[in-house]
């Protein structure tokens, strides 16, 4: 405790009338508690702001909150789904899976290839200067790595989908094949990091809730993206694919584990993921993409042909929604974490109620 001592010089200064005693108490109370609780002073409403090792600098945030709008979580969502879809499309193609699945996956990837950069660019403070990103390649900047990945992915996914479409429409030709195959290979290569690099992007920042989870975030985001991609494919009618079912189950299982991991950790870094609006959102996202999706899928295994499709579609919708909510929740948690001056100042929370009371 850094309680400042009241220096009463010579000790003779405090006349011992009761009101005088009360005044001394008031002063001490003001110093200790940071507010005065007396009649006429609203106990909760009269913050007596303090700068101290216990309060930081008047409880003002040390870190800056992310300046991003809703577009960025949406970008995380779209990118994750598109990346995973591209990977699935390619593998499914190589494995000789159903053409529709391959085609749908390519379309999802292509759609992501268009939407993702649009979202990213729109969120720039100076969108016209997007190309400045391409001045340099900086391996130590996940944003730079990500932009180049995005570029590669977008080009590849779009080319693949385009060539596939042309081939189907006007008949196959060699150049189209080449483009399609090369594009597919490239979108596999780029899709893998693209589906999860955003985990590194936010993980390697100064925001505690993000950087403390940097080891899990990419996997978490990959699983989330996979769940979303599977869900989308199923909703597009691929609800009989056992491979998709298996992947969906896998993703949901991982998300269950991720939820348990977060809930199980006691460290205050995790508070924004557990308390307040961002906490509830994280939970909602986790439940939708984890347990709900898992249970629906499990049920679909035993649901017989009639119900199975519907259940899988619902599982897909749940995973999809879960993935979106999860991205929003993580960004929101970043905001809350940035506002929490205690974390970067390494000030332990004394009073849990106080923390729950507000951010």
């Amino acid at each position: 405790m850094s309680e400042a001592k009241i220096h009463v010089i010579g000790g003779t200064r405090v006349p011992d009338s009761s009101s005088e005693q009360r005044l001394v108490e008031i002063r001490q109370e003001a110093e200790r508690r940071g507010e005065v609780r007396a009649i006429g002073i609203r106990p909760s409403g009269a913050p007596f702001p303090k700068a101290s090792p216990e309060t930081g600098y008047y409880g003002l945030p040390l870190l800056k909150q992310p300046p991003w709008t809703w577009k960025i979580p949406l970008y995380f969502f779209a990118g994750g789904a598109a990346g995973a879809a591209a990977v699935m499309g390619a593998i499914a193609d190589y494995a000789g899976a159903d053409r529709k699945l391959v085609r749908d996956a390519r379309w999802i990837a292509a759609a992501g290839a268009v939407i993702s950069p649009a979202l990213l660019i729109a969120d720039l403070g100076r969108p016209a200067r997007f190309l400045n990103m391409l001045r340099v390649f900086k391996p130590q900047s996940p944003m730079s790595v990500g932009v180049w990945t995005l570029l590669g992915f977008s080009g590849a996914a779009a080319a693949t989908a385009f060539a596939g479409f042309m081939g189907e429409r006007y008949g196959p030709s060699l150049p189209l094949r080449v483009i399609e195959n090369a594009g597919q290979a490239a979108s596999l290569v780029f899709g893998l990091p693209f589906s999860n690099y955003t985990g590194v992007l936010i993980g390697a920042t100064a925001i505690p809730v993000w950087n403390q989870n940097v080891g899990d975030l990419p996997i978490h985001f990959a699983a989330s993206g996979l769940g979303a991609a599977v869900g989308l494919l199923e909703m597009m009618g691929n609800d009989k694919s056992r491979a998709l079912q298996a992947l969906g189950l896998g993703a949901a299982l991982f998300e269950c584990w991720e939820g348990l991991r977060i809930e199980g950790r006691g460290h205050s870094h995790f508070d924004p993921l557990k308390h307040g609006p961002s906490g509830w959102m994280t939970r909602a996202g986790g439940v939708l993409s984890g347990p709900v999706a898992f249970v629906l899928r499990a049920a679909s295994l035993f649901g017989g042909n009639k119900h199975s499709s519907a259940l899988r579609r619902w599982a897909g919708i749940s995973a999809l929604a879960g993935s979106l909510v999860t991205r929003i929740a993580w960004v929101q948690a970043g905001h809350v974490s940035a506002r929490n001056w205690r974390e970067p100042l390494q000030i332990p929370v004394e009073d849990q109620a106080e923390l729950l009371g507000g951010s």
Partner: protein, 267 residues
């Protein structure tokens, strides 16, 4: 070209905010808003896009017979904060456009004509310094008065400071001065004086050092700032694992499933 730095000594600062205003005037920084905070005499709150130098007011209970300079008491200290110009700067490493560069003076400089406002530096600064200006879209912070230093002038804030609380000079000389000053203050009985220069963290020291009295946390100076690049290894490793699992899992799923489902499903 010598490598320069600031040493801001709060035991000399009178809280006049001349540095804050001089910075805004020299750099044409926009207004910060006209809100009263109730936080002592500080109404601009923190460093940000519209305040590049910022004077903090750390208030305690004074006692008669002890001025703020009394060794026993640290009653009201003022500390002028600024971008730390980190040796390993989170903002610089993170910037995807190369807008943020290190100058020949050792400062960390945002080139306003290159920045595209991606905002990634904002979340990458462990000191919460750089910020996107919402009107303009770009990120702004202290330039270390690159323009003035180029012209052989000292930064506007240091120039305006009447009490030499902001000292500017060659970094090694200043580090030496800081040590000597600290010793001097301790000798005078101010045993709570500390030098804030996070040399032993991943930030690797800064070009803006601070002498403060009491716990640096009262001044929103983090005890252990880290440059976020230290998280990269773990992050990319996780990313690789994720990619591998995704690749493997997908392969496994589709190979195991063979073509059967597809055929059944197909036209």
């Amino acid at each position: 070209m010598s490598v320069t730095a600031f040493l801001t000594d709060s035991t000399l600062c009178i809280g006049c905010k001349a540095c804050e205003v001089a910075c805004k005037e020299w750099n044409g920084v926009t207004g910060d808003g006209l809100d009263w905070s109730g936080f002592s005499y500080d109404n601009t709150g923190s460093i940000g896009a519209s305040t590049w130098r910022h004077v903090k007011f750390v208030e305690h209970a004074p006692e008669p017979g002890f001025g703020g300079n009394a060794p026993e008491m640290n009653s009201w200290s003022f500390s002028s904060d600024v971008c730390k110009h980190c040796e390993n700067a989170g903002c610089l490493e993170a910037c995807p456009t190369g807008s943020i560069v290190r100058t020949e003076f050792g400062g960390v400089y945002v080139q306003p004509d290159v920045c595209n406002g991606c905002g990634y530096c904002v979340v990458s600064c462990p000191f919460g310094v750089v910020e996107r200006n919402e009107d303009d879209g770009r990120a702004f912070k202290c330039t270390f008065c690159y323009d003035r230093q180029k012209a052989g002038l000292i930064p506007a804030c240091a120039k305006a400071c009447p009490t030499e609380s902001i000292q500017f000079g060659e970094i090694d000389t200043l580090r030496g001065k800081a040590e000597a000053r600290l010793e001097e203050l301790r000798r005078r009985g101010m045993r709570d004086a500390t030098l804030y220069d996070p040399l032993d963290t991943s930030v690797g020291g800064t070009h803006a050092m601070f002498i403060v009295r009491g716990d640096p946390r009262s001044y929103n100076l983090p005890p252990k700032p880290e440059v976020p690049t230290i998280y990269l290894k773990k992050g990319w490793a996780s990313s690789a694992v994720a990619a591998a699992v995704l690749l493997g899992g997908t392969l496994l799923a589709f190979l195991a499933d063979g073509g059967r489902n597809g055929r059944r499903n197909g036209r």
